[in-house]
Amino acid sequence: MSEHFDILVVGAGPAGIAAAVSAAAAGKRVGLADDNPAPGGQIWRSGTFQPAAARRWLARLNAAPLVRLQGWRIFDSPQRGTLRAERNSDCRDLCYEQLILATGARERFLPFPGWTLPNVMGAGGLDAMVRGGLPIAGKRVVVAGTGPLLLAVAAHLARRGAKVVAVCEQAPLRRIVPLTAALLGEPAKLLQGIAYGVAARGARFFTGCWPIAVNGREKLESVTLQRNRKHWDVGCDYLACGFHLVPNLELPALLGCRIENGFVVADDLQRTSVADVFCAGEPTGIGGVELALLEGQVAGLAAAGRTAEAEKLARRRKRQGFVHALRTASVLDPQLGKLASDTTIVCRCEDVPFAALREHANWRDAKLHTRCGMGPCQGRICGTAAEFLFGWSAASVQSSIRPPVFPALVSSLGASAKETCQSDGLPSAGASTGSQKEIL
């Protein structure tokens, strides 16, 4: 089955919502696809953090005449002008004239002894499970790592009745407050208010502090924290961690968009190196909510042919001096790369320990000989970790991107694209399977 759009937007976070709403307002037939059942992206979905801007944009989204493809995960581009999506076991081809990629970012995990024990989770992951009904009231939670999500998650969990015993931010305070404020689109004061709010519910807020080990037999019992060369144990039921954000580059890479220094290259109008493909938000640089909204609007207008308006907005971006936030390398303390012991598992899908990876010269060798990154997560977790741990520049998935960019049913991957979207009007070449007739 297939659907046709003038403009297809992938990703329903702030950038994607702004793009879809702007393009729909320009009268185009717009589709907005996201693998999550609810719009809002990492930042807004939780409902914890819905500043005025979020409520405004979500309202506009609800009012906009566009097709919402919520819960559809895009895993392939079987031909030019077509993306293939799957939901549960349904498969659909989404055809477009113009495409806007607003695929956002995900949390980075770093391995340290014990991190694979049950109840050690991603900060965003625990947040989502609590929203999904995981009882958290009265549970002791340590939130640790670095980046804008930590405080938001801690605040949410505290509101749900969790006993947040510690929030550990790896970066020094002077660096993290402006960064977090920028990424969440919140003034620093408000943010500090939230920090105090979490603190008022009994949490201790540490900066320059991180977990060095998780202790427990069957599951997490306590976490060892380190700050200024001091170690101490904190008993807890959950450890929620995340080490900043990494952009989701699978789709831009699959479509052949130029990627430099780990981000998609886009011009003032958010055009990528591939004709008719735009990119907005975190994949072009971790820049936070306000910048994502602006880039989304620019992309939506530009894709809809409203070039003058798009250019005007793009100029505002320059005037206001938006910049992409610090690169991850300068955000993560190098000591975080040294926490894993020889036996610490780096690739959870394939059970590959740190020592097995260290022998190899690059990501591809390590992958081939240890199976690291060969499991269902396709290296999303261990690849980004390895990039930081070993400085393997090609560790990110973009170096060897191939369909399916997410696991998909064999039948979905194999469905023929022949009859669906004929973007260039030519019949597809197809494999000659003449010899099959002899057998079938």
């Binding site: 690059n362 060969m374 039948s411």
Partner: protein
């Protein structure tokens, strides 16, 4: 700067690694040069089916010889090589293909290879997920599967343990007259240079009759027991080996991890490694015809690789007539994982002037030098 060796092997795919090990274990001072990663070429892409094939008597001789060498080695293979003697089921969908089962069975018997003929019901019992009814199958229990990059890694480590020296990552820019020039400006001198560059062979030796033949594979998440043997359609001989057209064939493998590896395709005249949606779709359609439930498994990766194909579907093993120092070990098409061990054995026997266990003549590169290079 220049180093002297008895043998320099160019390329550390499974064929080069096997040659280096064979040289080192026969006491030759051996160097091996690899431009990318160990087993990172076709070897990384291959299915790792250790299989006896009977397209021609020469193909059967080399695959059978190699298969027994793998069997002898199997006890020593480390775990990560994932050697599984699961056997092959050649699946017959109709009576015509059943005749092929009988023909094959008789032929294998003359070579001393035990097989079993399965009727429709026995096949259904052996592989419950296959479509029903199928006509039957030929079981070749001595066939096996393994994980090729780690197999190449193991052979190479053994060679190094016996004194061979690895130059990597180093690309050989030219190899002739007993000299191999590397990309760092250094030169290796050797009495013999073994050219094991796989599908890239013609880059170093223009004029070699080798073409790249692209293949696609898909691997699923873990479903232990979904299939139990390597399953190959008997249309394989008719379709996959037709030398001209693009083709797909049903070829499915159980991995020790419980993953299911789905093959395969063959295409000429495509140089890029990109996954081709149409080929993938025909290949999967074919697999679904035989295994109707395979569509419901989760596919986690797809990839492509290039086989080094020769006009007569036999590899090039032995001296290159135009350069006394040069030996070839390439052109293994879709069987190089299997035939790596046999290739190494007969190549080194020949190089040392010893009797080869099977006749080397059908694989000698001179068969092309005479008819083509000098034409």
């Amino acid at each position: 700067m220049s180093d002297r060796w008895d043998v320099v092997v160019v390329g550390a795919g499974i064929v080069g690694a096997a040659c280096a090990l064979e040289c080192a274990s026969r006491g030759l001072r051996t160097a091996i040069v690899e431009g990318r990663g160990i087993g990172g070429g076709a070897t990384a892409a291959g299915m790792g089916h250790i299989v006896v094939m009977d397209d021609s008597p020469a193909q059967m001789a080399l695959t059978h010889y190699s298969q027994t060498l793998w069997q002898e080695l199997s006890d020593r293979l480390p775990r990560d090589v994932e050697y599984e003697p699961c056997g092959t089921l050649w699946v017959a969908s109709d009576e015509e293909e059943m005749q092929e089962v009988h023909r094959k069975s008789a032929l294998y018997a003359t070579a001393g290879i035990a097989t079993a003929i399965l009727d429709s019901q026995m096949l259904a019992d052996a592989e419950p997920h296959l479509r029903k009814p199928l006509a039957g199958a030929l079981l070749v229990p001595s066939d096996a599967v393994l994980y090729p990059p780690c197999a190449a890694g193991y052979l190479l480590r053994e060679a190094l343990r016996l004194g061979a020296r690895l130059y990597a990552p180093r690309t050989v820019l030219s190899a002739q007259a007993g000299k191999a020039r590397l990309d760092d400006g250094s030169e290796l001198q050797a009495a013999r240079i073994v050219h094991a560059c796989g599908a890239d062979a013609a880059e170093l030796l223009p004029g070699l009759p080798i073409r790249k033949r692209k293949g696609h594979l898909v691997i699923t998440d873990r479903y232990p027991g979904f299939v139990r043997h390597q399953l190959v359609e008997l249309g394989y001989l008719k379709s996959a080996h037709s030398l001209t057209a693009d083709s797909v064939a049903f070829n499915v493998q159980p991995r020790r991890t419980g993953q299911v590896l789905i093959g395969s395709s063959r295409q000429y005249n495509t140089e890029g490694p990109a996954v081709d949606a149409q080929i993938l779709s025909s290949m999967i359609e074919r697999a679904q015809w035989y295994l109707p439930e395979i569509g419901a498994l989760s596919a986690i990766r797809a990839w492509t690789g290039f086989r080094a194909a020769t006009p007569d579907k036999l590899p090039l093993i032995g001296p290159w007539p135009e350069d006394d120092s040069l030996f070839l070990a390439t052109g293994h098409e879709g069987l190089g994982i299997t035939t790596s061990l046999g290739t190494a054995r007969i190549l080194v026997d020949h190089l040392l002037g010893e009797q080869t266990k099977i006749p080397i003549e059908p694989y000698l590169p001179s068969r092309f030098a005479r008819s083509e290079a000098h034409a």
